[in-house]
Symmetry: C2
């Protein structure tokens, strides 16, 4: 799946129709079908509106048509708000009329079970055959703030529409879209488009992301998602948003079992492992929020900010030492650098307030009770010094003070004017007027001091993601033909070698003589293992001999091992034995690749033994990815210290590990569905500079 | 330290004075010394106010006195607001007058370094010698809402004072106290007392907690803390609050290095390891908040709630399926049980709304667009069913709708009236009027749906803490006399045995003959280790022989081990060798006890090897504690699955581990400062029913 898979222009009739028909339009305001028309009469939409109603010459005082066929001109978009029993007929009417796009509110399709799924498949076919794009069913529609298309039955969108902004919101949940609009009323968060995708019979979240990535009216994308059917497609869309340097903030629900159960009984059953979703978000620099407040906060911050912070240092200015410490804690916990102020700045602050905190946070203390000018001057000094690109300020209740409110509206506006490139994230108790003034000045404003920090951290994270957009991937290698049945270890290792993953030097031997010769060539001490596609747990059948110190011992081991295995598992077909030198040192990791039904090829990394088994300390990526991404993957392991070297052990060769992960990801991507799974366990990462080696592998073809 | 260490009655003159003097009182409103008098003229305080001013016959139109000595009547409380140079004299005047309590705002004491520390010590002595309680220096004072004592220079507290509530706030940071008051104005969060303790020359946070624990006007305690000098004292106070079933919510800053650095440059340098603080909070059921919003949210929820939820099940009712899933995720992540609704209830909901989510969350869907009555009926059905003690509801923008707002104020009030024992936690967009109505009805109201869940989880956590108040501890054992110098393993194990901690059967032998005899008695295979107080790492000097299969092998091992050690470390004094049976199976844990300079005796638990070394997967408790607490400690390990049994391994004997932890805690508490540290590594926990054994131990006396 490449970016070319999306054709945003095909969505133009959905989002930018020239004419709109309302199937199920009604004058009765209590009926759902009345609402889109009520909205669009006053929304500023420029094209013709065609209510369809077989019983009335006019609907809501607008001339109506008995059928879609009776509409004189072309219809770009049809909004269908009829009971489920009439939906198929309405869809066929649309196709017959040559409608280009349909918004379908009606519920009772895939979300209710198998019968609904079949009906939904019919909808999809009608749309596809008729060359129509379909949003829904079971959705709340869409609102385009640029042109007044208010194709929704949510009552929050009328009368009148909020001014257009730069945030595009995509939600699989309908009501969530309405709430998002209402929340935005309280703050400077303006939308370009709100789209709810419902059951996604045709148009899905991924395609909407790709559309907004290309949409010049949109600079930030908010995403509410419960699951998806094609993770690679979603990944491609998110990569596109990142290439266009558009921050994406998401809520992905279904983190917990309770959440997954709730998702299943909501919208159409959708799927996908939450931990792979999470990995995909990290992979593309998507900010994943845990609360609605965080979701809108970060969306607001991204939309307000013209220039993302150039580094991760933050200066904290506070009127409360206690709150300052809380902010410093939050900043450090979120990966920001609470770097000490330079001595010149500390001296200047101390000269003004002898008992001030000067290191960072800069705490101007209760001295402001007698002179608020101290706070103004401190802000000026800290930003003027130039040591911090980002400033987070807690200014108490200044924003609601009748005297100091206006004064600081002015002060912050002045600072922004003089230092337009700096990020000024402010927290205080405030009035709507104060908020409007700071928003207009281009500051970020929050109630909660830690949220001022969180926003700086999020923007820093976006900047880092945009700075590290991966280079276009080289073409994938050709897929290797895989045998259809089970495979022995030697065959599995050969596949790895062809995939460019380093494997332990080894030789397949079929006699004691060959074993002895191999050990002489490969070096001593040696290991000898039985090779058989029929034996998974070699140790359990006595099929392993380790630490063989002499070639004679290797010769003897061949016979002993073979005899033990024949006795333990007489029916197993034996390919011979594998001889390899013993390797000591290094850290055992586990590398895996699998074909995920939702996400396609996925690569896993974990540390051996209890790290994976007890702590589930593993991390994932969608394949393919490059070495930079592999480094980030390694950095996500909780057990990273074990790889960096502990207890006097040397650091492991992380570069070799990163290379192998990237190679594995390219192999997995090239194989596609032909590779069910591949496990390299252990993959031994030797001390730095010494490389890394696959010691054993199991490959399962599809 | 026991609860008796506190004498709350001695704080009465501070919090409930009959008369107040103002040293440094001024008529000039720009001067800090003017503010407490400005406040108290209109605060409803009933006793006499005595401004002290040598130059004016009246201050702020109240008759003034040239000196404290000139005041005719007794003075309970003196508020000192004079420059640092005059503080000592003012304190001496107070002592001479027989003042009972002092609030001292002035900065420039322990927080500025050694000279300040000495001056502060003088203050403490004057107070102590004069029988006066001292709040401060470097504090913002206190406000008692019950009697109008507004002994603070924070301007937020005037004119007029908010109505008295049931939340007591204690803060080491001054400005934080003022902010806490201002934040409370926005919501139904009323205070009984706000106390800022500053440098804590005398009155500290712990004593204030003990006071509020006993204060009938206070039912919830909010705590902002940066550190403390006596962790056991704080622990005792928190235990007292828990015994009185008063929820404690805290912000403890200094979680990160950046935070610790910021604390050091704020207030007087205070100390204490954050992870031990964290353990202490868990131990006493204190809710630790990460943001100010969370701090006040949980404080508000606790103060609003008359009856804590009886179980941890939560029913979720939502008008948005998407938000419902987010709430379910949050609930599960916070340990609540999102239990499925009973079939009778699910059927009833489905009968009303065919496409509703019915399992839990109960999602009434967009059907409410045409009939808001559906939401009312759904709430009634879910609460009426009785299956959930706690309900969390997301009702969209109902709270700001001119039509539906009043309707649902009534609906929620009705539900509360009919089901007064149930917890109703509501989230929606709302107006101040709607908030006031729901607060008055006894609901909890939030903007953010996940916060409605968070509050339920916090209240559930308090209930659990109050249900598990530990029984009064039995008297501690007598302290063991410890040798003054280094100790060998046999001596260390003997100390453990006397402390009631099971140790591996072993024998100290001084000859090959004795070794052989010991092995015969103890059983084979055996282990033999050198015993010497001078040798810490026995393996490094060849001092260990394992898996000795015969008594002959044990005999030979004695000579070999002794010879190897003599060669490797000729100067070491050898006590002989230890012979013990080999033990197999089980999980290796590490148990530790140490004397912490801030917290006193502290016990640590971790899993052996990389769990402790790489992941720092350890947990702490203040000693002593009982077995219930030890179980909770075990439950906090991330590696818990390794103890519960993985990869076909049997579960470990956690009861034996809990017993040993509790015993160790009693031993550590009894030893007090005489025990610098004790490490049991490994402490082998055998399969369930088989017990647990200390295999090795190092004891360091003070």
């Amino acid at each position: 799946m490449t970016a070319d898979a999306f054709d945003p222009s095909s969505l133009a009739p959905l989002f930018r129709p020239q004419s709109v028909a309302f199937i199920g339009a009604s004058t009765d305001a209590a009926k759902l079908g009345s609402i889109p028309l009520i909205h669009m009469k006053t929304s500023g939409f420029k094209g013709p509106l065609y209510p369809i109603n077989p019983k009335a010459p006019a609907v809501q005082e607008i001339p109506a048509f008995p059928s879609l066929a009776a509409v004189p001109g072309p219809v770009d978009l049809a909004i269908i708000a009829v009971p489920e029993a009439h939906v198929l007929a309405a869809m066929r009417d649309c196709a017959a009329k040559g409608v280009h796009a349909v918004v379908l509110f009606t519920s009772g399709f895939a979300e209710i079970g198998e019968a609904g799924r079949q009906a939904q498949e019919e909808l999809r076919e009608i749309a596809s055959d008729g060359g129509m794009r379909l949003l829904g069913p079971n959705c709340m529609g869409l609102v385009n703030f640029a042109n007044g298309v208010v194709a929704t039955f949510h009552t929050a969108f009328g009368p009148g529409l909020a001014p257009k902004g730069r945030v595009g919101l995509i939600s699989q949940s309908g009501a969530f879209g309405g709430i998002a609009y209402q929340v935005a009323q309280d703050r400077e968060l303006g939308y370009s488009l709100i789209i709810t995708t419902g059951n996604e019979a045709d148009v899905d979240v991924a395609e909407c992301i790709a559309y907004l990535a290309d949409d010049p009216e949109t600079s930030v994308i908010l995403l509410y998602i419960e699951g998806c059917r094609d993770g690679q497609r979603l990944s491609t869309a998110l990569a596109r948003a990142r290439e266009r340097k558009k921050p994406v903030v998401c809520i992905k629900v279904g983190r917990t079992e309770a959440g997954v159960a709730a998702v299943a009984s909501h919208t159409a059953a959708l799927a996908g492992s939450d931990e792979i979703f999470d990995a995909m978000f990290r992979q593309h620099g998507v900010y994943r929020a845990s609360t609605m407040e965080e979701f809108f906060d970060i969306g607001y911050a991204a939309a307000q900010t013209r220039k993302l912070p150039a580094d991760n240092r933050v200066g904290i200015v506070t009127v409360s030492g206690g709150v300052g410490v809380l902010m410093a804690d939050t900043a450090a916990a979120r990966g920001l650098d609470v770097a000490a102020a330079p001595p010149r700045l500390q001296d200047a602050i101390r000269a003004m307030v002898p008992f001030a905190g000067t290191r960072n946070p800069i705490d101007v203390t209760g001295q402001i009770v007698s002179d608020m000018g101290i706070l103004e001057r401190a802000l000026d000094m800290v930003i003027g010094d130039g040591c911090y690109q980002s400033l987070a300020c807690f200014v108490g209740s200044v924003g609601r003070s009748p005297v100091n409110g206006p004064r600081f509206m002015q002060a912050f506006a002045d600072l922004r004017r003089r230092y337009p490139e700096r990020l000024l994230s402010v927290a205080c108790l405030h009035t709507p007027l104060f908020r409007a003034a700071l928003d207009a000045a281009g500051c970020l404003l929050f109630d909660e001091p830690t949220h001022a920090i969180r926003a700086v951290a999020a923007l820093t994270q976006f900047r880092r993601a945009f700075d590290t957009i991966p280079a276009p991937a080289p073409p994938l290698p050709a897929a290797q033909p895989l045998p259809s049945g089970p495979m022995d270890e030697v065959a599995a290792l050969a596949i790895l070698e062809r995939a460019g993953i380093p494997v332990l030097r080894h030789r397949l031997v079929r006699s004691a003589d060959e074993a002895e010769a191999a050990a002489r060539t490969l070096g001593l001490p040696a290991a000898l293992k039985i090779v058989s596609a029929d034996i998974t747990h070699k140790s359990d059948v006595g099929g392993v001999a380790l630490n063989l110190a002499s070639s004679g011992a290797v010769r003897r081991a061949f016979d002993e091992v073979t005899a033990r295995v024949r006795q333990a598992q007489p029916a197993a077909r034996l390919s011979g034995c594998l001889v390899a030198p013993m390797v000591t040192g290094g850290v055992e990791t586990i590398l895996g690749a699998q074909w995920d039904p939702v996400f396609g090829p996925v690569v896993m990394l974990g540390l051996g033994g209890i790290f994976v088994e007890v702590l589930r300390d593993v991390t994932f990526r969608l394949a393919p990815f490059n070495e930079d991404e592999a480094w980030r993957m390694i950095g996500e392991l909780r057990a990273l210290p074990a790889l960096r070297g502990t207890r006097g052990r040397p650091p492991a060769d992380l570069a070799a590990l990163a290379r192998a992960l990237a190679q594995l990801s390219r192999f997995a991507a090239a194989q596609g569905a032909s590779l069910k799974s591949l496990d390299i366990n252990p993959f031994l990462v030797l001390p730095d500079g010494k490389g890394a080696l696959a010691l054993d592998a199991v490959v399962l073809p599809a």
